[in-house]
Symmetry: C2
Subunit: 271 residues, 2 copies
């Protein structure tokens, strides 16, 4: 079983009358960050609690995860409630608890997808093929970094801090190690892969922590199957930095140029 699938394993503890299901899961040492787990996998675990729910309608469209408190290594409970189910959309409220205390909250929307007029207005930039982009030597040594193959084309403080810059734009190819067929949870996990933009701007690793992340899923499950084990192109740029919080906006494309997801997050930083 792939490391990510191990991390995504949830066991139903209890079904309540209002549709709420309490799931038991565990943090995975393979996705550890400096302190606690990599936030992308926490986000994927939250989504998984809706995905595995027996009353789920459709596929993920939107996910917002709020990191309220440090997630400790070990067991957790995710409480997943389908709050409103319409004909074609379903709204979820979710929370992760450890020792009875909330550590993460989330909302999600799942929906039936239909064929409509379609266009990716934000086009994939012209970049070299993944095989032509060298894999960098990492500045940091954290377990989750070894779960991904990073091929960085531009501006990543993963590999160099360099000098201060007016732009935090970064572009990179990424893929699971070992490659894993793409699905919504895998995409949610990747959506948090971008290093803090404040590192790029300041050429300095100040303390940071994601406060809230939102992922909009543009691809259908069928498109994700077609994507398979291909590389994902990630592009990210910061927008505003002030008073200890900055945000970024990012896009994830398949190798064929389809916009798989867009994502934004707001991040706490010090100094």
């Amino acid at each position: 079983m792939h490391t990510l699938d191990q991390a995504l394993t949830l066991t139903a503890l209890q079904h309540e009358a209002d549709g709420t299901v309490r799931w038991q899961g565990h943090t995975h040492p393979g996705y550890a960050n400096m302190v606690g787990p990599y936030g992308g996998v926490t986000a994927a675990q939250m989504l998984q609690a809706a995905w595995l729910h027996p009353q789920r309608l459709g596929e993920p469209v939107s996910l917002t995860v709020n990191f309220c408190a440090a997630v400790a290594d070990g067991a957790f409970t995710i409480v997943a409630q389908p709050v409103v189910t319409n004909r074609s959309t379903q709204h979820w409220m979710l929370r992760m608890e450890q020792d009875g205390k909330v550590v993460t909250t989330a909302t999600a929307v799942t929906a039936l997808r239909r064929d409509t007029w379609a266009d990716d207005e934000t086009k994939m930039p012209v970049v070299p093929a993944p095989e032509q982009v060298p894999m960098p030597r990492m500045l940091l040594d954290r377990p989750f970094l070894s779960r991904y193959e990073w091929r960085v084309m531009q501006g990543s403080p993963l590999t160099e801090l360099g000098t201060t810059s007016d732009t935090s734009l970064t572009r990179l190819w990424v893929r699971d190690i070992p490659p894993r067929p793409m699905d919504f949870a895998g995409l949610a996990a990747m959506a948090d892969m971008f290093f803090p933009r404040v590192y790029s701007r300041r050429a300095l690793m100040v303390p940071t922590g994601t406060v809230s992340i939102t992922v909009y899923f543009h691809a259908s499950g069928e498109q994700l199957q077609q994507h398979g084990m291909g590389y994902v192109l990630g592009q990210v740029q910061g927008q505003g930095f002030r008073h200890g919080f900055f945000d970024h906006v990012a896009q994830l494309w398949s190798q064929s140029g389809s916009l798989l997801a867009t994502t934004h997050q707001i991040v706490y930083y010090k100094e």
Copy 2:
């Protein structure tokens, strides 16, 4: 009292032991949309339920509002719970109910702001002063449109559908009618002002509805006071349109060029 302040009036019904407060409010006919209220005011009402809460810590940093079901004209209850309170951040879960049914859910983060290194990486575009931009004749006639002064510089289907376009970029100046001192609720209300990007792309008004909106507040309360009753510059562009859902990313600046907020939303559309 300003129409928006009337719409934001909430009365505490009940304080629960875990810090949850149940608020009573009413939709305002002045902010009616085609069916039900303008979503921006619903978002502002959700934020207001945290803002007025006696246990609130700090100022809004992040707000995500999910539109689960149509909000009916009339009374509603907002249930606001401070789920986790840390030393400098606080996490909120909120829901709006009518007749005991959930119609809107939200999460919010409030926080103490500190002085740090700061920069607006996404710069305000060079545009004419508000007074130089004519106020357009609206294509649509909905009550909430009369609550704002719209001065559209580029690409808005508020005023013309024109022909199909490769870009949905729109820039406009906006201000409350009558002018109102800026605050977080007023900014949250404005964050939903952008017309559906699919109108611009297709030169066609297909049925649409916001599913989920997120607002990141970059300005402090002090900055909003300085902004006062000035105009806000809004810029918006769609990213991906597929399978009945599209998203956009948008920025709101003060006249002096400070990034007040960034916002994204995912919108249902038909055809």
